[in-house]
Amino acid sequence: MFELTLQALFSGLLAGGYYATVAVGLALVFGTMRVINLAHGELVLLAAYVAYAAETSYGVNPVMAIPVALVIVGSASAIVYALLSRIRQDREINSLILTFGLGIILTNAILSIWKADIHSTSDPWFQDSMVVADTLFAMNAEVASFVGGLVLMAGVWWWLNHSWQGRAVRALSSNRAAATLMGVNPRKIEILSFLIAALLATFAGFAIYTGKTVFPALGHVLTVKAFIITVLAGMGSIPGVLIGAVMIGVIESLTVTYLSASLQELAGMILFLVVLFVSPSGLFGGGRALAR
């Protein structure tokens, strides 16, 4: 019984790591530009497929392909930004539809290039198991993704708090007019946040390719999950995203273990609603979620 719980917690923690890496990029863009990039999941998927192409067509270890993926996903992200910045009125809803349209284009492009089969890494290292204290089991890929994700998120968090550009990002999201007056170039900062989001998305894509399976329809699923976690965490909080993601991962895992695996998604959704009603601006948000 105890073993079951421990494993459930451990699995939930690692699952939360995956969710967090996917969500942080979306959260960053949401925080800076107040724009929800509904194509974010597709960007993650694009990175995963680049990893797949590298591994199967060129026999390259997925990790080696990360630079190539960064360029591709970065360019795609920059294009999304360029299109988004052309929207003048009704920003919130119009950017939703635009990014949604871009998501459809990306998903169908991936479908036509790589077809609908499922894929995952065949590199054995990623699939080997790691055992902790004889009771906790995980795949190498999961632990590597968790650790790597943590490092990356810590890096982004440090950058937001201690570098000039990072602080400019936070200033812009806090009060756009004032930040501009203080010498922050909004366009440069916005495109920077999109590129950082692309970096995070690339890592997430590789994490998913090595630890789970990818298929074209996954993009939409990832976007929804990322969106939910972003809102759960509250605006502008990177640690919040990690905590929120781990909470969801653990709740899902415990539900599977003690109730029924088919209720997994239900548990996550209910948790989300409960948090939202109790604390409308999310767990760590800035208190701007209520209607005026």
Binding site: I36, L98, L102, I104, N108, L273, R292
Partner: protein
């Protein structure tokens, strides 16, 4: 919209289309599907414009309406038309569970409704004795014959959904022009001020949510009896959220008839024009069209179509 134009369009819809397409089950079927999307689009736009709340989870109301109506008709023997109305009522009742979400702003509200949609879908999958579980319900009763006219046939279905959409749009328009519409508009600008003046803003918003849910549920119930099949994945499919939003935006969601025009345009052009030409790429075209619309005419198709006469008259005066 111009009264004359509206009457002409209705005449074409009620008389012209049946005359033209009665024999062609395929095209009629497509038009019915497009109108189903249009109905949800109108309901969504109503909530967005009058209620000021953008929802990402209208599939929840669609699915609840479908299942309520189907189960009532199949397990309790309720006559189909009555079951359809009760389906709408069921969706409206389910929206009461969402009232706590009303105090959330923008994307938070939108996502909360999405969470509800997922929850309802899972409930529908698990409550097998009632909903048929993952397998769903097959052979749901179709619409009956009334006075010799078989409403269960394609043409009958068309007339029913057309009437629903027209009534929904007229209701939307009526509310917009009424004093309640004025109050709602004022609420958008500043809710605090309107409350001070005595407008029961929360009640109004709730009323809009319930109405939007009722209309969407009604359309969902219609669809269940028209297709005669339901399963959780289909009833709560994200397509029922996404396509109406795209249709409303495309057609111009600030107008009453924009969503209807948008739905017909997107669905029919996609299925009749693009799909035969590009069997594998036509969904991508939809994506491209949506992006183009947002970038070049964010107000949608209707304002774009109206723009030209205005420009010419300006030149004339100059």
């Amino acid at each position: 919209m111009n009264r004359l134009l509206l009457i002409a369009a209705l005449a074409i819809a009620y008389v012209g289309v049946p005359l033209l397409f009665d024999g062609n089950a395929y095209v009629l079927g497509l038009i019915v599907a497009a109108l189903t999307i249009a109905g949800v689009a109108v309901a969504w736009a109503l909530l967005g414009n009058l209620g000021g709340m953008v929802s990402f989870g209208h599939a929840a109301f669609f699915g609840v309406g479908s299942y309520t109506s189907a189960v009532l008709a199949m397990k309790l023997g309720v006559p189909v038309f009555a079951a359809m109305l009760l389906g709408g009522v069921g969706a409206a009742v389910s929206s009461i569970a969402m009232l706590p979400a009303l105090r959330l702003r923008g994307p938070y509200f939108a996502l909360a409704i999405l969470a509800y949609a997922h929850i309802f879908q899972i409930l529908a999958t698990e409550m097998t004795p009632v909903t048929g579980g993952a397998g769903g319900l097959l052979s749901i009763p179709r619409f009956p014959k009334i006075l010799g006219f078989d409403f269960g046939e394609k043409l009958g279905g068309y007339l029913i959904v057309l009437t629903i959409v027209v009534l929904a749009a007229l209701a939307y328009d009526a509310i917009r022009r009424s004093t309640w519409g004025l109050a709602l508009k004022a609420m958008h600008d500043t809710e605090v001020a309107t409350r001070v003046v005595g407008v029961p803003s929360t009640h109004l918003k709730a009323a809009m949510l319930v109405l939007s849910a009722f209309l969407t549920g009604l359309v969902g119930a219609f669809n269940a009896h028209f297709i005669s099949f339901l399963d959780p994945h289909y009833a709560f499919s994200s397509g029922w959220t996404v396509l109406p939003i795209a249709a409303a935006i495309f057609g111009g969601y600030r107008t009453v008839w924009g969503p209807v025009v948008g739905a017909l345009a997107i669905y029919l052009v996609d299925q009749l024009l693009f799909k035969p030409i590009l069997p594998h790429g036509h969904q991508m075209i939809l994506g491209v069209l949506l992006c183009a619309m947002i970038l070049f005419s964010p107000g949608g198709l209707m304002p774009a179509l109206r723009r030209r006469p205005v420009k010419e008259s300006r030149h004339a005066h100059a």
